[in-house]
Symmetry: none
């Protein structure tokens, strides 16, 4: 099986998308997810562009990557100096990655009119920068910016820029449709010419989606012989985004027979898409090919009938291959087998056809309709199963709570307080706390009131808090989904709450978090004593 | 210029999308919009499938269409009866349209295993139904369902189904990639063979987006000689949607030199996309090629610099051609030149080197460091500039507010209230409101207290509310950024607030929204009186 090297730029080109801003912690999570998936390269940022990326490159060294090579991104040296004199080129070395990707200009107009130098000097900038980095033992990817526009404007010069990179000993040439304006036939023909000419290096493709054809353009480049495919997960990127790897990987591997990622990971494509969207705080489009919630959802009666007779009658692939599931909008038949896996972890005696399974599926459907999503909130889902199976005993009753937020003077002094009354075994505890906002105050008050009963809760703190407005057209009356991640220093768990009231949604997730911790403590005690 | 006939199926295949349901009034509005745009065919529904469509076909006769031919959709007759005996075929006539599109089976497997008849009978069903409709003076489009899958499974039979339609005197053959699983090279080669073989009829293409390539596949079919392009506006459709006409039309007409719609209407592509999304009650994706809000939005500093020197350096077309606009995001990477453009709209005397510009840039940096981001919140940025320039007079003072959220019993009854005291020209107004959560309550109370002073605020309502947790590691004590979009029915504006307290962040954005509206009202009055 021919190998296609997947070059992921979610953390670099993807971070150029409007509304996306990754923290260092976010970036580390994305690196882990992409490495687990098994891409070949993770382009993770530009160490020269900002201190946040520099901090990331230091912290990322603690991760042991199984599949991917970490890649730093920068540009060719500036005009009229040596690479050694260019702070940005030097900063690429400070990232301490095996691979470095540098972009250079391949469109003559950009050389003369944008960076304003001579065509000759630009060739030197490419050749010398590649050569300098190769001298430092780096694997070098040369991103030929605007290569296709350059080829159309001045073919000979565009080819010369590739020649310059090759003579500097670049390991691969990535042809970029930077403005995203090309069509598949153009991409095929031009890529083929490059592949035929530069047999000694790998040729890559880097497409943008401004004409809605980035995925198809990348496929056509592979047909023409490109073996490195650059893109971003779920297509994040500036303007209309980059080529979408969650569409490209399954098309290449399942349909075209190439090897992109370890075969057993293909079924994690959907969960990876959900996870990366969550980290980026972006709603994954339902219509997203392969990984979207509606990608295998059938509404037309004739289609449902056909799929019931033979799934491939109206499905281009089996949704389970990519970890997605079939849904029928009219006659609801949910993916029982996925749910049964989770149930059997709590009670192995329960089967697909048990009455309890039906009950849990019904409850789940109701909650999903209401706005819940348990993909990133396994712990809340476990609590839900326990409640349905009767394997749940509440640890406390929340008898009353009140939050107050107030601006006392016109001097903009805001204060938030919470009061909480809980009952444990007939014993009542009342606590109050002040916080940074009402949710924080509530969190503090709730813990305070329970720690006397359950001292182990003192080890728990929240590590992540996310808010997603559902149906944002409802504006301030819209439902919100809150995800809370907690840790006790050993385990990490995530819980979810949904309500039109952000306080209530947060409270539901907070209570789940505490209960989950208390259940696990009992289970562990039992296990230790066994 | 070669003509490409745009065949819009927004109201038929588009209505199969999850979450989309058009009322009869909605459908009439969409017909008007598409006819104004100038598509050749509007496939508007299946009169045999439901009474709503039948009612529509009666009402639509009152519209005088300038460009489009209305088309009714149905299928070939059922097996073993005549077309005259098939109620669905007869209902196609009752729609009283000039054009009728009927689909038939081109994939042998579907004939034998899904509709369970003989291959021979299926050919008769096609030929006889087309012939019957031609006898009733209809223009007939034959949709060859699953044509590409059929061709791959049994090429000879797939071609025979087209032959059957042609012998029935069909006017055009639309080749359907019903499951959306084909790649551009396959589509090109197979379409080319059909075009070469059936020279006497028009060949069309109908693609679905299950592999993310529907637009590219359609373009490749046109390259192969297809002259009818079927799709839906903004790509609505079952599963991953249909080929997106708002991407296809500009690519074909602006880049490939075909004639699809009247030249002067190309600049209405964006407003048509917004309008049809509004009617369908679907949020138009910011990333949508050509027509999305971010389609020509630049964030990277180098891109902004390039576009300022020459727009085509990072834009595949001029956004004005399709009625869209260029935006520069106000982020850390945006330079002074972007900011000065916004300042000069308020005070043209201020230059890049003015002391005021320095002050605004400093303020902007401070706020961005704090967590503000003005990309997407132009109106708050305008208020910021006004305040720095002394061109701002507060319309009201918020003297006091208090929010209360409380769970009264253990029965999970949550309630939220807000109290607000404002002062306008020494007059004090105190209001209270109950809401879906504290933010909604605050929003209501604030408006209530101000509407007496500023009656025009009654026209304002919020259309979008977004929450982003910044540095989510701070958990419930983390800062949040709130974005609020408001409208008065004519203008739309977005404001932003940041705080560790979600209530305060929302309040800041709410107050900005109200002040922005009041400032614009004064400006407009001034302009009218000038």
């Amino acid at each position: 099986m021919k190998q296609i090297n997947i070059f992921d730029s979610t953390l670099r080109d993807g971070a150029q998308a409007e509304g996306i801003s990754f923290s260092v912690e976010d970036k580390l999570k994305v690196v882990k997810a992409l490495d687990e998936l098994g891409v070949a390269y993770i382009e993770a940022g530009n160490p020269g562009s900002n201190p946040k990326d520099l901090e990331f490159f230091i912290k990322v060294k603690a991760l042991e990557l199984k599949n991917a090579k970490l890649t730093a991104f920068g540009s060719t040296r500036r005009r009229d100096i040596t690479p050694e004199e260019d702070a940005n080129v030097l900063s690429l070395l400070s990232a301490d990655t095996k691979v470095v990707a540098i972009f250079g200009k391949s469109w003559d107009f950009h050389v003369t009119d944008i960076i304003k130098t001579s065509l000759e000097e630009n060739l030197k900038m490419i050749q010398e920068t590649v050569s300098f980095l190769k001298g430092k033992d780096k694997e070098v990817v040369f991103d030929a910016e605007h290569f296709f526009d350059g080829y159309k404007s001045n073919k000979e010069y565009a080819m010369n820029t590739l020649e310059a990179a090759v003579s500097g000993k670049a390991d691969s040439l990535a042809l970029c449709d930077t403005n995203g304006g090309c069509t598949p036939d153009e991409i095929y023909e031009i890529t083929k010419e490059v592949v035929d000419k530069f047999k000694e290096v790998e040729v890559g493709i880097h497409c943008h989606n401004d004409s809605g054809m980035a995925v198809a353009n990348s496929i056509m480049a592979v047909k023409a012989g490109a073996t490195q495919v650059q893109g971003t997960y779920v297509g994040f990127g500036e303007r209309c985004g980059n080529a979408n790897l969650s569409s490209l990987i399954p098309t290449l591997q399942i349909k075209k027979g190439f090897h992109c990622i370890p075969e057993e990971n293909i079924e994690t494509l959907t969960s990876t898409a959900i996870l990366i969207s969550e980290i980026a705080n972006v709603t994954l489009s339902d219509k997203e090919p392969y990984v979207g919630r509606s990608a295998f959802t059938h509404k037309a009666g004739m289609h449902i009938d056909g799929v019931n007779k033979a799934p491939h009658s109206f499905e281009h692939i089996n949704p389970e291959l990519v970890g997605n599931e079939r849904r029928f909008l009219m006659s609801e038949v949910a993916g029982r087998s996925t749910i049964i896996k989770k149930i059997s972890r709590i009670d192995p005696s329960i089967t697909k056809d048990s009455e309890e399974t039906t009950r849990i599926v019904e409850k789940l459907k109701k909650l999903e309709y209401y706005g819940y999503q348990f993909e990133g909130a396994d712990s809340s889902f476990e609590l839900l199963i326990r409640k349905q199976l009767g394997k749940y005993e509440p640890f406390f009753d929340l008898e009353y709570f009140k939050i107050i937020g107030e601006q006392k003077t016109t001097e903009n002094q805001f204060s938030s307080y919470a009061m909480v009354k809980v009952k444990v075994d007939e014993q009542v505890e009342f606590s109050a706390a002040e916080g940074d906002g009402p949710v924080n105050a509530l969190d503090k008050a709730l813990r305070k009131s329970l720690e006397g009963f359950y001292p182990k809760l003192k080890t728990v703190h929240l590590t992540d808090y996310k808010v997603r407005v559902l149906d944002s057209l409802g504006a301030t009356a819209a439902k919100v989904r809150v995800l809370i991640t907690s840790t006790d220093g050993t385990a990490v768990w995530t819980t979810v709450g949904v309500s039109t009231d952000i306080i209530e949604a947060s409270l539901i997730a907070l209570v789940d978090s505490i209960e989950y911790k208390l259940i696990k403590d009992i289970e562990n005690r039992y296990r230790t004593h066994k």
